[in-house]
């Protein structure tokens, strides 16, 4: 029997540091590890004793790519603990800035980090050499998302205008309305990119995933809804811990998320899309059909297309919210310190981001639990790797390694987020 080891010590084109190790014994896949060894930063520990109002700013530092996800989950959780109700105008402004994060994060990943895998190139700069218009379009689209975040939040990385209760200052209507033309352009650009990328040569791979996401009866979920799945899960956000658990494994500084029964599940664009296809706009559904996608996508390599459809949606939705924008008055709901517990879950670009805080009578954090999307996807990423490797044994080590990296990048893993990092090794024993 020939032994083969495929190993990537430091994965490129992902946020954070990770590795992969696969060991094969003939046709048998003996071991698959998606390793996250981003050094731990201990957010849940050092939050204890801090003023609850600091949690949005502090937890935004978990991730520079999706700070809004942390800010919004933290805000909603603390607001629940302090028993305040947010106005619909504030909720709409939150949804608007969140759309900005989806646009910039998804565009960065789809066009600049993931697309090179399908083109056999190392990066977007190489794409620019043969197709500068494509890269310029992607950069402009990414900038549309950042402009939304800057307009409402002050800056794109770690915005400053968001707070528990709402916003420090309601943005000027003129500045918000000025976003609309570029958002309209962005919706069309995202559609064009989705159709262009639909021509990629996708590996044949389908899996019957357990898709977990927020589900809302009226809206494609971003900051609202119950936690549900394609297998009938339908729970309140408060009941997260009754249905999900986190395991600590030796090869990871991330805790791995699993269902209580030990099974893996998938969060992120494929799950949101499958569980909420009917709430996409008709234009986004039309793009999906033109790109050859049904209402459920089970080929993980096609997540790149679903991300771009979500960019189109986020542009359309942001334009709608900008047109309807009325400055919230007051810009935030005041909060008083009080003992309580709060739970919140919002849809980070990579999937549900759950926060749970217990606050004491002085308004200080007693207990914090943060479950980022990538740690929830980690067991499913390993399962995908095992499946893809088993299907791809005839590939050379170099090509197999490439395919493994591509499989991981299907998830747009945010390794910094999961507190934690990844390396790839494939052992062919």
């Amino acid at each position: 029997m020939t032994e083969r080891v495929i190993q990537v010590d430091a994965l490129a084109r992902v946020e954070g540091e990770g590795a992969l190790y696969v060991r094969l014994n003939g046709p048998e896949v003996e071991k698959v590890e998606f390793r996250i060894f981003e050094p731990p930063r201990f957010f849940e520990a050092f939050l204890r004793g801090r003023d609850a109002h600091e949690t949005p700013d502090i937890t935004s530092r978990i991730c520079g790519i999706c700070p809004i996800a942390y800010i919004m989950s933290a805000c909603q959780s603390i607001e629940q603990a302090m028993a305040v109700t947010i106005s619909p105008e504030i909720d709409d402004l939150r949804r608007l800035i969140y759309c900005g994060e989806w646009i910039q994060s998804h565009t960065l990943h789809a066009a600049m980090l993931h697309a090179p895998d399908f083109l056999g190139l190392d990066d977007a700069i190489q794409i620019a050499q043969s197709n500068p218009e494509l890269v310029k379009k992607a950069l402009r689209l990414k900038k549309v998302g950042n402009s939304v975040m800057e307009c409402i939040g002050g800056r794109a990385v770690h915005p400053v205008n968001t707070r528990v209760g709402g916003f420090y200052r309601a943005p000027d209507p003129g500045a918000v309305h000025a976003l609309i033309p570029e958002l309209n352009w962005g919706a069309e650009a995202a559609r064009e990119l989705a159709l262009q990328f639909a021509g990629f040569d996708f590996p044949d791979d389908e899996y019957d995933y357990h898709f977990v996401s927020l589900i809302h009866p009226d809206r494609y979920p971003i900051i609202e809804g119950r936690i549900g799945s394609n297998r009938g899960l339908d729970i309140a956000v408060e009941d997260f811990n009754a249905h999900f658990r986190e395991d600590h494994v030796a090869h990871s500084t991330a805790l791995q998320g699993r269902m209580r029964d030990g099974s893996s599940y998938l969060v992120g664009p494929l799950a949101r899309y499958a569980n909420n296809f009917d709430r996409l706009t008709p234009a986004c559904q039309a793009t999906a059909r033109e790109a050859g996608l049904g209402p459920i996508v089970r080929n993980p390599f096609k997540s790149i297309l679903v991300r771009l459809i979500e960019v189109q949606y986020a542009c359309e939705e942001a334009a709608r919210l900008a047109r309807a924008y009325v400055p919230p008055d007051p810009s935030f709901v005041p909060t008083e310190p009080r003992a309580g517990e709060g739970h919140a879950c919002t849809e980070a670009p990579r999937g549900i981001c759950y926060h749970n805080y217990r606050v004491d009578a002085q308004g200080r954090i007693e207990h914090a639990q943060i479950v980022p999307p990538t740690s929830q996807n980690q067991p499913q990423i390993e399962a995908d790797l095992a499946r893809v490797v088993a299907q791809s044994l005839d590939l050379s080590d170099k090509d197999l390694k490439w395919r493994c990296e591509q499989t991981i990048r299907n998830y747009d893993p945010c390794i910094s987020c999961s507190t934690h990092f990844l390396k790839l090794t494939v052992d062919r024993v």
Binding site: F42, R163, R169
Partner: protein
Amino acid sequence: MARPKLAVWKFASCDGCQLTLLDCEDELLEIAGALDIAHFLEATSAISDGPFDISLVEGSVTTADDAARIRQIRAQSQTLISIGACATSGGIQALRNFADVEEFTRAVYARPDFIDTLATSTAIADHVTVDFELRGCPVSKHQLLELIAATLAGRKPHVPRVSQCVECKLNGTVCVMVAQGTPCLGPVTQAGCGNLCPAFGRGCYGCFGPKETANPPALSAQLHSLGMSDRVLRDFYRSYNAGAPEFQKESTSHD
């Protein structure tokens, strides 16, 4: 002439400062044309070996392996620049420096024995010689572009170390502390963010770290008079630049 080789390195961080480089949407292709991007894992699979003309380092040192790795990077780098609060002061994760890291590990992980970490989170300059430190949590895109342009031109970057108050004056922002009694670290914090928080009616929270010749005790007296307790004052200085010497000293004096 060969283009200068650029490397971008990550230590303990959120990736936001590296992302700021990719957020230079209008300039990115030009930067890629002026520099040979030899190592930038977040953006490209193409990796070439050192030595490197310019190394940008994001993140803080929190493991023994990383302490060794930064020395190797220094040895291969003509110019080494640390970018962002993690790299210049240890970042938010330096809050462990004021606590018991073993207790932290037990609080977060079911199997503390799987975790290998140092008791402290420290700045890059605590380990190797650094040619320039660019502040911010995150760094400013404009300052990052100025830094790259200056380094390519062989000149000193124009990054003033004046206070955030100067930015308020330049922008005509009304002082939030004087006018509204809002606690603000602006008088002791370095300018450069673009006058963000005060312009939104919020006090500066110090994400660019101490300005040159900062005088925190004088500011603390003012903050006390606004009704801040010692505990709140301590935490005010103890955040994204908790490990910066001036902020660390002041926060500890309110322990």
